[in-house]
């Protein structure tokens, strides 16, 4: 997951109300005059310079494939919060928004975008989280976590925090954030701290710094290593798409189709695969197998449990 962090409701607008940049006319269009259309890619991050550096090559590459749809160049708009992104989309300054399931679902539900495709990362189309504890922790089920403290990964991590927290919350647990793992937790609450790293989470559980932890299910066994037998999985969340591509609803259908076609075909050529790899190890894009509504329904249902955590 690229470093985009949504914190609170405060909108920090970089360079006024946001930072945007336009690319010069694409080099590929030098044979014939490039179309004048501009496609704007939106991204949320507290580090706009880095984010711009990550998104910009990809945006330019995609734009170069859209000349037929009147798109001659790309523009990247980096904002610091999902709320601002909602505003940017509403005003039509952002045409494409690509993010994790919860941010994507948030903007989808609050703004004028439509989920278009799934984005695979590191060879995975979906992922899920596990909540685990030591076998000798005395925690046999999720409810046993009450009055104790557990660890999540990073605050903006879908698999390390948003998804497991939402799952625990939906199971009826009342989770409260603490800074100190040794803090005293009320019996009707489940305390949690951010370990900021899946490896930290694993060792904190193993070393009994916390009673339980949540990590990406794909990494769990590797993180547990030969101590897997000492651990017990309390809960595994449902699989959710790795990433979601949303497009502005008001974007011309021709352009949307052109974008969809370009993204779906990107993994088919060597040239495009390089662009994908450089874009945070993207593997490919595909359509939602069951449709966006179905595949993102679970996320949308859990969204209220992490609404605050998404900065809203």
């Amino acid at each position: 997951m690229h470093a985009r962090l949504v914190l609170g409701l405060a909108l920090v607008v970089f360079a006024g109300c946001g930072q945007s940049s336009e690319s010069p006319p694409a080099a590929v269009a030098t044979a014939t005059p490039a179309p004048s259309g501009v496609l704007a890619f939106g991204s949320v991050s507290l580090n706009p310079a880095r984010e711009h550096g990550v998104v910009r090559p990809f945006a330019d590459f995609v734009a170069s494939k859209l000349h037929g749809a009147g798109i001659g160049r790309a523009r990247v708009v980096v904002v610091s919060s999902l709320s601002q992104m909602v505003e940017e989309v509403r005003e039509g300054t952002v045409d494409v928004f690509i993010d994790s399931p919860f941010p994507a679902a948030f903007v989808w539900k609050h703004g004028e975008v439509q989920p278009l495709l799934r984005r695979w990362k590191r060879g995975a189309d979906t992922y899920r989280s596990v909540v685990f504890t030591r076998r000798d922790s005395g925690v046999d089920m999720l409810e046993d976590l009450s009055g104790r403290i557990m660890a999540f990964g990073e605050p903006f991590s879908t698999s390390g925090f948003l998804m497991p927290k939402a799952a625990l919350a939906s199971a009826g647990l009342r989770l409260v954030n603490y800074e100190d793992p040794a803090a005293s937790i009320p019996p009707d609450r489940v305390g949690y701290v951010f370990s900021n790293d899946a490896e930290n989470t694993m060792f904190w559980v193993i070393k009994r710094k916390v009673v339980a932890g949540a990590v990406n299910a794909d990494y769990f066994e590797a993180l547990a290593g030969d101590r897997l037998s000492e651990l017990r999985i309390l809960h595994t969340t449902e699989a959710v798409p790795r990433n979601v591509v949303c497009v502005r609803r008001s974007l011309e259908a021709e352009v949307v189709r052109a974008i969809e076609k370009a993204l779906l075909e990107m993994h088919l050529s060597d040239e495009s695969q390089a662009a994908l790899q450089n874009f945070e190890e993207t593997t490919r894009f595909d359509r939602f197998p069951r449709g966006a509504e179905a595949d993102l329904g679970h996320i949308v249902a859990l969204l209220p449990h992490v609404q605050e955590d998404l900065g809203q």
Binding site: F203, K209, L223, D226
Partner: protein, 585 residues
């Protein structure tokens, strides 16, 4: 290929310098290796300690992500092959990679035991690497530690560089060695070359140059020694030339032979006398040149026990069979090696002397026959006249007869002395030896001279004697000697004086001392007392002088009898003659 002194010297010095350089380089490499190794070790230990110190908080808080960052940084450091952070159980927390495949692996038991009991570094070496384990303790609690696998193979690169430097140093040393050797050799051989040049010049007869003495070491000593040698050689050469000239100048023949008599050198006198060239003479044996003296098989056979001989009369055999009479003296010349004496033969041509001898003999014969016989007849006739055979003579006639008688007697003595002297010189005087008592001879001599002494108013005073002492002599000749000495004393005594006669023993000999109170013998005459016809220059005593042959004859006789005659004299006080003769036992 044979190397000269210079080549050997250069090779030797070069070898020493190069060996020195190689040894020095080897020691330097060893020291450098040690230093590099220690530097690498220290660097690895320091790096481990720093990382461990920085990891303390992360270990305490189990901040594995932070640990991963630090360990990753450690892995990026030069020579770090591997790095891990581990917990108090010794389980790996992170190896600095995202994948972290050794997560939860246990570090070696020994390292874990060390971590549990110490905060010190544990350093384990294996091959070209070392593993440094730094325990991390906090408040007495073991948190875990950091373990770095550190390559010392960097040393190999440094060693390669070191080897290049060493090779360079070795090359420089080799260059310096050859240069130093060349300079040193030049310094040593230059004087030697000068010596060689000088020696060659010397051998070719050129004047030897004087070498410069530049140093006070052995080379300087060599130059000094050479200069000294040439100086001595020059002196020797001068001496030899001088000696050669002397030998060529001398009239006598000089022959040098080897131990067996082989002639090795002759002077020109030999060639002149023999009529044979030097080249022909060299290599001959001396017996072919000199006839064997009488009674000997060869000349060298006639040598005494000391290898020498004096006054040997023999003949030199000249070319053509002529024999030249020579007087030969031989000296043995023992070489410094001590073996095989050489002989130096000096031969004088005595042909002339023999001719003179012959003339003397002829003269004596003539005197004997033509003078003595008539003189005897004259003396007899005068004696008859004095005896009155021809009648009484008047005073004047008697005086004349007495004068004639006295002078004829004197002439008879002179003739007798001349004949005796000649007999002595020619070795023809006969001696009839017998045992007689010395004092008897003395008394007979005194008796025989008393009349003569009385005529001069001189008396004999026989002060002491050696009664019974015997001598083996010819009594007549011995009496003749004593008579000569007594009459000589009378002759130089004043009227009224007494001549003291003493006989005693002196060592193993008998001695007869005859003392007068006469004028003594002048200093300038003393060496001529025993020469024939020698007479003192005392005017006052001239009238008493004899024939001048008496003392010469006496000396000749007494020496033939194995004795001697000497004197002591004090001018104006008197003279004592000593006649010594071996006592017969």
């Amino acid at each position: 290929m044979r190397l000269g002194l210079r080549g050997r010297f250069v090779a030797f010095v070069s070898a020493i310098v190069i060996a020195f350089g190689v040894v020095l380089s080897a020691l330097s490499v060893r020291a450098q290796n040690e230093r590099l190794r220690h530097e690498l070790e220290d660097r690895g230990k320091l790096l481990t300690s720093v990382i461990a110190a920085n990891s303390t908080d992360a270990l305490a808080m189990l901040e594995v992500r932070e640990l991963r960052r630090m360990i990753a940084e450690a892995r990026d450091q030069e020579n770090v092959l591997d790095a891990v952070a581990f917990d108090e159980e010794g389980r790996v927390l992170t190896d600095g990679t995202v994948v972290n495949p050794r997560r939860h692996d246990l570090i070696p038991e020994a390292a874990l035991r060390h971590v549990a009991g110490s905060e010190a570094l544990l350093v384990e070496f294996a091959g070209d690497a070392m593993t440094v384990t730094k325990p991390v303790h906090l408040g007495g609690r073991v948190l875990g530690g950091v373990r770095l696998h550190y390559s010392l193979a960097g040393l190999a690169e440094d060693q390669a560089s070191l080897a290049r430097r060493t090779a360079m140093v070795g090359a420089i040393f080799a260059l310096l060695g050859v240069l130093a050797a060349a300079l040193l050799t030049e310094a040593v051989t230059r004087p030697l070359k000068e010596v060689i040049r000088a020696t060659r010049a010397l051998s070719e007869g050129e004047p030897a140059p004087r070498l410069q003495v530049r140093t006070s070491d052995e080379v300087g000593e060599l130059a000094e020694a050479f200069n000294e040698m040439t100086r001595k050689l020059r002196d020797t050469t001068v001496s030899r030339d001088y000696l050669d000239r002397v030998l060529e100048t001398m009239g006598e023949c000089l022959v040098v032979t080897g131990p067996e008599g082989t002639i090795t050198r002759v002077n020109s006198a030999v060639c002149r006398l023999s009529g044979v060239d030097e080249d022909e003479l060299l290599g001959q044996n001396c017996r072919d040149l000199f006839r064997a003296p009488k009674g000997h098989l060869s000349l060298l056979d006639a040598l005494g026990p000391d290898g020498s001989a004096r006054g040997l009369e023999t003949e030199l055999l000249a070319r053509g069979g002529e024999a030249v009479p020579v007087m030969v003296s031989v000296g043995a010349m023992t070489p410094s090696t001590g073996s095989g004496s050489s002989y130096v033969i000096v031969a004088a041509d005595i042909s002339e002397r023999l001719r003179h001898e012959q003339q003397k003999d002829e003269f004596v014969t003539m005197v004997h026959h033509e003078v003595r016989a008539p003189l005897t007849a004259v003396r007899g006739a005068v004696g008859l006249l004095e005896g009155g055979v021809a009648g009484d003579l008047d005073d004047r006639g008697r005086e004349l007869v007495e004068i004639a008688l006295r002078n004829s007697e004197r002439m008879e003595r002179l003739v007798n002395d001349i004949l005796a002297s000649r007999k002595l010189d020619s070795g023809r005087m006969e001696f009839h030896l017998e045992e007689v008592e010395l004092m008897s001879l003395v008394e007979q001599a005194i008796d025989g001279t008393t009349a003569y002494a009385a005529d001069h108013g001189v008396a004999f005073d026989l002060e002491e004697g050696v009664p019974g002492a015997m001598v083996r002599v010819d009594p007549d000749r011995m009496i003749q000697v004593l008579t000569n000495v007594l009459s000589n004393a009378v002759r130089f005594s004043a009227e009224g004086d007494a001549v003291a006669v003493r006989a005693d023993r002196n060592g193993g000999k008998l001695r007869v001392a005859v003392s007068d109170n006469g004028p003594g013998i002048a200093e300038e005459f003393r060496d001529h007392v025993f020469e024939a016809f020698a007479r003192g220059e005392h005017e006052a005593w001239r009238h008493r002088s004899g024939t001048g042959l008496g003392m010469s004859i006496s000396k000749g006789i007494i020496e033939e009898l194995g004795g001697s005659i000497t004197f002591e004299t004090v001018v104006d006080a008197g003279t004592t003659f000593f006649v010594e003769i071996p006592e017969s036992t």
